[in-house]
């Protein structure tokens, strides 16, 4: 019989596993198939819809989340890879209803138009500013190279990130 159904019959369980995901400081115990991506699980199982699915191949950055502080494309990350890691999505950025300085700057500088790229941009900005609190304009542009925006032309996004860096300096 075909090898896939052989495994399924004998070891159907081998195709999935129980994982513990920590997302925005909340823990979730899930059983997921190995083949599911972190993006799918975040959106479909955890119903956190702020993280977007667009290109689904690690090019556009709209699926960007932080995994142990590092910006990653969740569409090309297996959910099982996130077991035991600290995941942060856009939903976790504001604290107690108060916007994060990066979010404030995006609003103040008009860096949000349709808003589709914004969660990814903000998560990427968080990684950048954590590693490099005073980036140059060039460094900001390099950091967001993996996040596509079809509306703003990027100028205000770069401006917002630089403004946030200045705000966070104080």
């Amino acid at each position: 019989m075909p090898i896939q159904s052989y495994f399924q019959e004998r070891w159907g369980q081998a195709m999935k596993r129980k994982i513990r995901l920590t997302v925005n400081n909340e823990t979730y115990d899930l059983e997921v198939e190995n083949r599911r991506t972190l993006l799918e699980v975040i959106r479909e199982d955890l119903h956190l819809l702020g993280t977007k699915q667009m290109c689904n191949m690690g090019e556009c950055g709209s699926c960007t989340v932080l995994m142990d502080g590092q910006a990653v494309n969740s569409c090309i990350t297996l959910a099982v890879e996130a077991h035991g890691k600290k995941i942060e999505t856009i939903e976790g950025v504001a604290r107690d209803g108060k916007l994060d300085p990066i979010q404030e700057a995006f609003v103040a500088k008009g860096a949000v138009q349709c808003g589709y790229c914004s969660p990814g941009m903000i998560m990427t900005a968080k990684d950048l500013l954590a590693k490099n609190p005073q980036p140059t304009e060039k460094e900001v542009k390099t950091a967001i190279a993996g996040n596509l925006c079809r509306c703003t032309g990027y100028v205000r996004i770069v401006d917002a990130i630089l403004t946030a860096a200045d705000t966070m300096k104080e």
Partner: protein
């Protein structure tokens, strides 16, 4: 994606045994930025994904002045960028890391995976070729060490045998007094494959080329050292006409193609011009 088993062996030996067990239907997972794309496109019919993440020590960069750099299979491009030994001693590798994908990709993609995926346009091999790096490969028959160019077998084909794993990349210190350049010529400033990739490492002595190493990528099925062009320059007086000739000679050793990014004719012109510029930039 089709279903697959996931295994997380704790040793290279176990990983190797799993590769043997699953035959051609098991694949190694390092950063996954290439593997996940292949899985999503339905290009692979895998029974198992074998992750390296639980194997201790693979995510380390070690450096001594005597041995040079030892880069484990799970070391990411971001780690290379943040490494002081790399930025201080291997600027071409640091530059290749800068030009790799996006921040999100660099945070998980590995240098070892870049080599094993064997794209002709890969960033990784260019600095590694001019630094004369070697690859440590472990498998059921033990350990072997090969020059980095030997890991490339053809377009997206590596020379690893069944159940072998690339575990480490060794990069000796470049000879004292050498200067080098790395160019990744592409259509965009980021998130793009090289149309032509060039790496050079040059040492001069009294107006004469003493050591010359030139590597080319994206102009043949495999990245390679441009030996004829190197021989043309070595031991000769530094002259503009000679450096131009080196660029022309490099074209003979290349086999550029026309593809979606550039025509063969354009690549030929790029080879000539970029080698000329790269050698010039490597002069004191």
């Amino acid at each position: 994606m089709k279903e697959f088993e996931l295994h997380e062996p704790v040793s290279i030996e176990d990983a190797s045994r799993l590769l043997a067990k699953f035959g051609g239907r098991g694949r190694i997972l390092a950063g996954g930025t290439d593997l996940l794309l292949e899985l999503k496109r339905g290009q692979l019919n895998l029974a198992a994904v074998i992750s390296l993440k639980e194997i201790k020590g693979l995510n380390k960069i070690r450096f001594t002045r005597k041995e040079g750099l030892r880069i484990g299979a799970m070391v990411t491009w971001s780690q290379l960028l943040e490494s002081k030994p790399v930025s201080r001693n291997y600027p071409l590798l640091a530059k290749a890391a800068e030009k790799m994908g996006s921040m999100q990709i660099r945070n998980v993609a590995t240098l070892a995976g870049n080599l094993a995926h064997a794209s002709p346009a890969a960033n990784g091999p260019i600095p590694l070729l001019v630094y004369e790096a070697t690859c440590v490969i472990q498998g059921p028959n033990g350990r072997r060490v090969i020059p980095v160019e030997k890991i490339f077998g053809g377009v997206q084909k590596n020379t690893l045998r069944r159940s072998e794993i690339l575990t480490e990349i060794l990069v000796p210190l470049p000879p004292a007094g050498t200067r080098g350049t790395y160019y990744k010529f592409g259509l965009r400033q980021a998130m793009d494959l090289a149309v032509v990739g060039v790496g050079t490492l040059v040492k001069t002595k009294n107006g004469v080329f003493d050591e010359v190493r030139i590597a080319l990528g994206a102009v043949a099925p495999k990245p390679f050292r441009v030996k004829k062009a190197e021989r043309l320059l070595k031991g000769k007086k530094i002259e503009d006409r000679l450096i131009r000739d080196a660029g022309e000679t490099a074209v003979i050793e290349s086999a550029p193609i026309t593809d979606i990014r550039a025509s063969m004719e354009y690549r030929i012109e790029l080879i000539k011009e970029l080698i000329y510029r790269a050698i010039n930039e490597s002069l004191p």
